[in-house]
């Protein structure tokens, strides 16, 4: 794997904690699409975001009955923001709603990768590797995309050679790992363990080890151990402030004339088996503020930018017994940026009636996420459909790039 630690000046520039990985092999895609100098950002939402809460299909007659107490409404409890007559948006995303109505943001709903099982790791491997199945963890599709794009002028010569080694705690998302050199940044200190982890440990210890359960309880009670739903170590990629810091740092780098053009970030904590509404309120706030940070910091480059937020799979259509949802299939993805032909929810809606659910439990997937990603790669970055189908998303020749996503 080729990635490098940012120089001190870049570290200072980035400021916040967490990890940003962007291409250090930064060809200017000057010829890519109409003289545009594009920016492309991929945000991986680890843990399976519930698209039915983020972008609730309030117009679907089965929605309220499936979701019961966690159903969002237009003017009742859990009020949502209006998108169109059918879909709404979680109220923690006002920035995305504003971009949507300015035609600079779109949602793709009921979409999925080629993965149809329920393991987070395997699902993330498929999402990030770009292969049709798990087990390919050497390189990610974004890195391979970098290798296949038309080579322009290298805007940051020497970036890959000025540093060496890896910072402790740094872990480039698989999506951008590979042969194309990648610039990395991570904090020098211990990455704070997430409160989500301690919740899971509490569950494990309470079933297996009373002593550890007592110690963990004490540690949480005295504030030594981060805990709680969505309460993550400050500045971590599962904390709203951490997300915004990461996005701000990434955007400042991307905004530079000689900065990178492609970046990948990973936000964590989306596995909402319990207390989903409260948790997603925090997490979606972080994601929403991240979109706003990209818009703000990219300045004039925003008009040539696409930020996509993707997750490994969706969640069950029906509420579970702990005010949450479990691993499902059809997911939602977000696109934001001045280059997005926005103001729409792109969905071939499969419906939520029992007979329409996949296996009687999941929102079915009717759009292949790869069609969207390939569509952006072609129309924003000048990628070749044939190469995308062979090298970037192997075995996806039959999945045509979606047209018309880019202004």
């Amino acid at each position: 794997m080729a990635y490098n630690i940012a120089s001190p000046s870049r570290r200072a520039l980035l400021g916040g904690a967490g990890a940003l990985f962007s291409s250090a092999f930064m060809p200017r895609f000057a010829q890519a699409a109409g003289g545009r100098d594009p920016r492309f950002v991929v945000i991986i939402l680890r843990g399976a975001l519930d698209g039915l809460t983020a972008v609730p299909p309030i117009g679907d007659p089965s929605y309220k009955e499936l979701r019961q107490s966690i159903a969002l409404t237009t003017n009742g409890p859990n009020p949502a923001l209006k998108l169109d007559g059918f879909f709404a948006l979680d109220s923690s995303m006002p920035n995305f709603a504003r971009l949507y109505h300015a035609n600079q943001a779109a949602v793709v709903h009921a979409c999925a990768t080629a993965y149809r099982d329920r393991s987070h790791f395997d699902g993330q491997d498929v999402l990030e590797s770009g292969y049709p199945g798990p087990g390919h963890t050497e390189t990610g599709w974004l890195n391979r995309l970098l290798l296949t794009l038309p080579k322009g002028e290298h805007v940051m010569p020497g970036a890959a050679s000025t540093t060496s080694g890896l910072a402790i705690g740094a872990n480039a998302p698989l999506v951008i790992r590979g042969k194309a050199p990648v610039l990395g940044w991570a904090p020098a200190t211990l990455k704070p363990a997430s409160g989500e982890l301690s919740q899971r440990l509490m569950d494990l210890y309470s079933h297996t080890d009373p002593l550890f359960a007592r110690l963990l309880t004490e540690g949480i009670a005295t504030g030594k151990i981060a805990s709680g739903l969505g309460v993550k170590g400050r500045g971590s990629p599962g904390d709203p402030n951490g997300m915004e810091q990461l996005a701000t740092g990434a955007a400042r780098l991307l905004a530079q004339p000689d900065g990178p053009r492609i970046a990948a970030l990973a936000f964590e904590g989306w596995d909402t088996h319990a207390q989903e509404i409260g948790r997603l309120t925090r997490l979606l706030t972080g994601l929403d503020n991240s979109f706003a940070a990209f818009e703000r910091e990219l300045g004039p480059a925003w008009k040539d930018t696409v930020v996509v937020a993707i997750t490994e799979f969706g969640r069950t259509a029906r509420i579970n017994g702990t005010q949450g949802t479990d691993h499902g299939t059809g997911a939602a993805m977000f696109l934001a940026g001045g280059a997005v032909r926005g103001g729409r929810v792109i969905a071939d809606w499969p419906g939520l009636r029992q007979s329409q659910l996949r296996d009687g439990r999941d929102l079915a997937a009717t759009t292949d996420m790869r069609a969207i990603l390939k569509g952006v790669a072609v129309d924003l970055l000048g990628g070749s459909p044939a190469v995308l189908g062979r090298d970037v998303f192997p075995g996806s020749e039959a999945v045509a790039p979606m047209k018309g996503l880019i202004v």
Partner: protein, 257 residues
């Protein structure tokens, strides 16, 4: 040097300590430039030795130079309290914090019978049923835990990181706060502070690149038959690979031994 014990049949006093200190006056270490040979070696400086007979634990030792101190050490080594102390420490370390008195007595008897042959004592320990109880009752000390983490993960961080982590976990490398060394009981390491640090350390190692390990295979390979269904379940349901590896590292079966 004098074993301490809570056993009531045997106590030493401050007089024993000062007597023994007098007996070993003149025991020193060769230093560069002095006349005692290779620097770092033990040396006896006759001129610094205090003459006279002294009593330790009721036995009077006549002054015969270096041999006076050696005689004390030999007697201490053969003392029944030493046999008990060594047996208890071994049993406590390898079996449980409060080992069955019968096991300790058997090991002490072996020690006494063989005049301190530790290999024979180990054989008594290994031959006991208690040593083979698969129940995990001990907690790994920070050093044991970190070594296990690094072995299991294959990570090889820089030495100064290892030293820093051991400091943070409260077991600075080769540097216990007292002459009796680091504690080997569960209570000494079972603190919420300690667990908080372990969580951070496990999380750090789990997030070290390249993170290509499959946590499910890793858990079954590393924990083997110890892997509980609860831990296996928690690992398989983790949100990210790194989180799954953290859970494996923080599972009771990995933290205990």
């Amino acid at each position: 040097m004098l074993p301490r014990s809570s056993q009531t049949y045997w106590r030493y006093t401050q007089r024993d300590v000062t007597s023994f200190a007098r007996i070993i006056t003149g025991w020193t270490v060769a230093r560069p430039g002095n006349r005692f040979g290779i620097p770092g070696n033990f040396a006896f400086n006759e001129n610094a030795h205090e003459p006279g007979a002294h009593a330790v634990l009721g036995v009077t030792y006549q002054n015969n130079g270096i041999s006076q101190g050696r005689a004390v050490l030999r007697d201490l080594a053969h003392h029944p309290a030493t046999a008990h102390h060594i047996a208890l420490k071994l049993a406590r370390y390898f079996v449980t914090d409060t080992p069955p008195p019968r096991l300790v007595a058997n090991m002490a008897a072996t020690y006494t019978r063989t005049r301190g042959d530790l290999s024979a004592v180990y054989q008594t320990l290994i031959g006991s049923d208690e040593a083979w109880d698969p129940k995990l009752v001990k907690i790994r000390s920070p050093l044991e835990y970190l070594v296990a983490l690094l072995r299991a993960s294959g990570e090889r961080p820089k030495p100064n990181l290892i030293v820093g982590v051991l400091n943070a976990m409260g077991q600075p490398l080769w540097n216990p706060s007292g002459p009796n060394g680091f504690s080997d009981t569960v209570d000494a390491w079972a603190s919420s502070e300690g667990l908080a640090t372990r969580i951070d350390v496990a999380n750090m190692v789990a997030n070290m690149p390249p993170g290509r390990v499959d946590p499910r295979r890793f858990a079954s390979d590393t924990l083997g038959a110890l892997l509980s269904p609860d831990t296996e379940h928690a690992i398989s349901r983790a949100e990210t690979k790194a989180q799954a590896v953290s859970i494996a590292f923080l599972s009771p079966e990995f933290q205990r031994r």
